[in-house]
Homo-oligomer: 187 residues x 2
């Protein structure tokens, strides 16, 4: 059983650990490489998910001694258990539908008053900058050697790219409409 | 102070209650009308947010007697407090940036194995259907009379529309690439 299957991170971590065992920091880097910068992983956010997967007996930890002169003597490695492949297959089969489109920016626009136009225009500028940053960061990922990984990495990158470009087109429209309203109403 | 400002629902509810007092069910309908079907509001989800706004002293409840022969004798009305306008203005000024793009479908694609192609194709079909349903539902909203509300309603609707169309274009691409991979690798 995989609880919290509502969180896409849970399935992603289980999938990566089925490929091979990892320790926390490396696993976070693997998520980051696989999901791209628009996923905006925070490394610390993976630990509660790992704890959950462990209490569901889908992964287990093993302490690995580190050889040599490393300051760090040991490392906690996470391994998928025998129950993991079935849970992963069930997750893969679960229905998916479009997630809600609920953003802070849309909430602000929806309940703003005409006097909030300057604040909205500033918010649009910031939002646009963060979209452009993510677009630029996404372009720098190297293509994987493996043909299958190339297909999935391409699709994940393409999803972020199209989503961000749609956002940027919408920001331009929003800015224009808000400015038009402000000038027509003499504000 | 408005805690939980990370949730766009908090600001939206406060904004609507600043416009006029409402009771829970009506408020949920107002959110739904303002944010559109892609926001996918569940009525029950507003109550914890109202409780939070109340404990932050930004709204307060008043019991209103219902006249006449209604089976329901009273109703809990929520009103914005004197502290609400400042909290709302601060929320409106807060920086916004692009939210993470983290979906169940992208997580599945990113960690899928070649043998998962049939499950992914089924997931793409479902996802596409839910996008089409939201697009169709969005088209039916009446335009508000008020010029300002017309501008903001148009922008919120346009955001969902462009986002869903980008999704649909991506689904078509994903389906094509997965089928190509499957046929080239003889699966």
């Amino acid at each position: 059983m995989m609880r919290g299957a509502g969180s896409p991170v849970t399935g992603a971590l289980l999938g990566l650990l089925l490929e091979r065992p990892s320790y926390g920091y490396e696993l976070a880097q693997r998520v980051d490489a696989r999901m791209g910068p628009a996923w905006r992983l925070t490394t610390s956010s993976i630990y509660p998910v790992l704890d959950r997967l462990e209490s569901d007996q889908l992964i287990e930890r093993a302490v690995k001694d580190l050889p040599g002169r490393s300051r760090q003597r040991e490392r906690i490695m996470y391994h998928a258990t025998d129950a993991a492949p079935d849970a992963f297959a069930r997750w893969m089969q679960q229905p998916v539908r479009k997630e809600p489109i609920r953003t802070e920016l849309l909430a602000k626009i929806a309940v703003a008053r005409p006097e909030d136009v300057p604040a909205l225009l500033a918010a649009l500028d910031e939002y646009e900058r963060s979209c452009l940053d993510l677009l630029a960061a996404a372009g720098s990922a190297p293509a994987p050697d493996d043909a299958w990984l190339g297909v999935v990495a391409g699709l994940v990158a393409e999803a972020a790219d199209q989503h961000l470009r749609a956002d940027l087109a919408w920001v331009a429209l929003a800015r224009r409409r808000l400015r038009e309203f402000a000038s027509e109403s003499g504000r």
